[in-house]
């Protein structure tokens, strides 16, 4: 399977988001660069609203990702609860 990725700015707002992604996607790999992180995962990667909320202690709208998102790859599907990237081949 091909690799999908999500690149985020490395700042205070994204720290709990990155933490929850890494917890929910044990197959994902965290690559740290200056000012940013790139999370690679084989096949698919999911960001879960609930996991982020548990860490930040307030309601979280997945569309807030827009603020600190840098780039992504893969086919995206976004709902109220999950933001999923995946390749079909």
């Amino acid at each position: 399977m091909s690799i999908v990725f999500l690149a985020l700015q490395a700042n205070d707002e994204t720290r709990p988001i990155i933490e929850s992604i890494m917890a929910d996607n044990p197959h994902a790999q965290l690559n740290e660069s200056p000012a940013m992180v790139k999370i690679d995962a084989e096949g698919s990667l999911t960001v879960k609203r609930e996991s982020v909320e548990e860490r930040i202690g307030r309601p979280f709208n997945l569309q807030e990702l827009q603020i600190n998102l840098i780039s992504l790859s893969g086919n995206l599907d976004e709902t109220d609860d999950e933001f999923t990237l995946k390749w079909n081949a």
Binding site: S2, I3, V4, F5, A7, Q9, S33, P34, A35, M36, K38, Q63, E64, Q66, I67, N68, L69, I70, S71, L72, S73, G74, N75, L76, D77, E78, T79, D80, W87, N88, A89
Partner: protein
């Protein structure tokens, strides 16, 4: 007082449906094909526009909310950067030259992208596609604005930033990015969205805005890091839109497949050629490097682009043409480009230099197959010549490729010692190309590319001299007059970094910032 019962909010899917579907109507005063005159001539067949879906399911209200928050953050940081004279914290004033290329060459493209998406947002018959194009059109004008604000701040302190609207129209190498966009915006709406959404966004911006901007952060340029990452978060949406557009066309009708394939071939090659400039910025212009051009290419094109082509294979799409050559060339193009700009440094709005020993060693380690064999000897020779007072400037204006408008400096596929030349005859004239890829593109649409405005050729035709110039006068200096026409200040914007105003000022200002004398 009774508490008002809280209404149940709509979910993302429903909200997206309400905000994008059934906003259009069948027109009665005019037939639909007159209202949407560009929808069919490219041959793309669409049966059901309602199948179009933005995977982010972004609606206008959410767009304003999050973009406003992003802009507030962005401008707060840019302000703080300037209040603190952040430009003096960059690793070295050499670094600023990469930003000259970036801000002069890319900001006007953002504006053209804004116009292009506004245009196709009007011309696509499907409402959801139009909403997505409207958002992208707004993103692009925001990017143009934030980049022009950043440019304006650098312009207070450094040379070469003073006239980007003129330079993008006139300076020789600026025609490379400009002609890419001219080609795209003068195509039909479907080709436009493939050229920008797929090639420019998916292939190109990842390389420019991710590793290069991370490099800006590494070199202490918080201003560029901020607008770069902020812009790229929109690019993430744009590439998703580009990918969605391609899948949509492929799913709508099998007859669309060969048309889309041709565009993928064409625009991969166009984007790849344009990226040569970014390759050079990463390998030669960042004093502190994050990764080599070749490494970035492997991650963002080979791995990431490869995954996309594998995904599209189920529609009958094959990977783009000339991948073998592209793979071979990744060891070469950044060095060939820097060698070219070094030779033509008298004719640019930024400074050049030869790499230090340290930098040469870094390049050897990143390019073990090519740097020591083909490029180090040339660069060491030029460096020695300069030390002896014979700085080499190439004074002959180079021939440009009719398609990508880059000087004919690239080498034969598989042979980095031989310059590649291709040509086509069309209506009694000969046209020249840097590669098979560029020749192919011309041969398919010669009527389009014979209209190209090639700066080098225009100079020879006498169309690029300064105002009031008299080429018949005895002491006429053609190149000085061309620089005048371009808006490049001879002796200030161009030439070597060593001894430049930028170098002197940066050192003096940094000195003032660290002691009291």
């Amino acid at each position: 007082m009774d508490m008002p019962a809280q209404k149940k909010k709509l979910g993302l899917r429903e909200r997206y449906a309400y905000m994008t579907r059934h906003l259009g109507w069948e027109t009665t005063y005019q037939p639909m094909d007159k209202v949407f005159p560009y929808a069919e001539y490219e041959g793309i067949k669409i049966h059901d526009w309602d199948k179009w879906e933005d995977p982010f399911r972004l609606t206008m209200d959410a767009y304003w909310k999050y973009q406003a928050e992003k802009e507030r953050k962005l401008y707060a940081i840019i302000d703080a950067y300037n209040q603190n004279n952040g430009h003096l914290n960059v690793t070295d004033a050499k670094y600023i030259n990469s930003i000259k290329l970036f801000l002069n060459g890319i900001s006007p493209l953002e504006y053209m992208a804004h116009r292009g998406f506004a245009h196709i947002g009007r011309q696509f018959p499907g409402e959801a596609a139009r909403v997505a194009c409207l958002m992208q059109s707004l993103d692009e004008i925001r990017h143009a604005q934030t980049q022009i604000h950043s440019l304006s701040n650098f312009n207070k302190h450094y040379n070469g930033f003073h006239d980007f609207t003129k330079m993008i129209q006139r300076v020789w190498y600026m025609s490379v990015p400009r002609s890419f966009f001219d080609d795209a915006v003068s195509a039909g709406p479907f080709e436009f969205i493939v050229s920008i959404g797929f090639s420019f966004e998916y292939v190109l911006t990842n390389l420019l805005f991710v590793p290069f901007v991370s490099g800006a952060a590494y070199n202490g340029d918080m201003g560029t890091m901020t607008f770069g990452f902020s812009a790229q978060s929109d690019e993430a949406r744009h590439m998703t839109l580009g990918l969605e557009a391609i899948k949509f066309m492929l799913e709508q009708d099998p007859a669309n497949v060969p048309i889309v394939q041709r565009w993928i071939d064409k625009w991969t090659w166009r984007g790849y050629r344009l990226l040569t400039l970014v390759g050079m910025m990463m390998d030669y212009m960042l004093p502190k490097r994050v990764m080599s051009w070749k490494e970035a290419w492997e991650i963002y094109f080979e791995e990431n682009g490869g995954a996309l082509f594998k995904d599209l294979a189920r529609y009958g799409i094959r990977p783009p043409k000339y991948l073998e050559q592209i793979e071979f060339d990744k060891d070469h193009i950044s060095h060939q480009a820097w060698a070219t700009f070094y030779q033509y440094s008298a004719l640019s709005n930024f400074h050049t230099w030869m790499p230090t020993d340290d930098e040469m060693d870094w390049l050897s380690s990143k390019y073990p197959n090519s740097f020591d064999k083909y490029y180090r000897p040339r660069f060491e020779f030029w460096r020695k010549e300069a030390e002896q007072g014979n700085r080499f400037f190439n004074k002959t204006i180079p021939m440009l490729c009719q398609t990508c408008q880059i000087p004919m400096v690239f080498t034969e596929p598989g042979d980095p010692t031989k310059t590649c030349y291709r040509e086509s005859d069309y209506k009694g004239s000969k046209y020249h190309f840097c590669s098979d890829g560029c020749k192919d593109i011309f041969d398919h649409e010669p009527e389009k590319y014979i209209q190209a405005w090639l700066p080098a050729h225009q100079i020879y035709q006498g169309n690029c001299f300064g105002e009031g110039a008299d080429p018949t006068s005895k002491d006429f200096n053609p190149m000085a007059s061309v620089l005048d026409y371009w808006g490049v200040q001879n002796g200030h914007d161009n030439g070597d970094f060593e001894g430049s105003d930028d170098q002197k000022n940066f050192n003096a200002w940094r000195g003032m910032a660290t002691n009291n004398s």
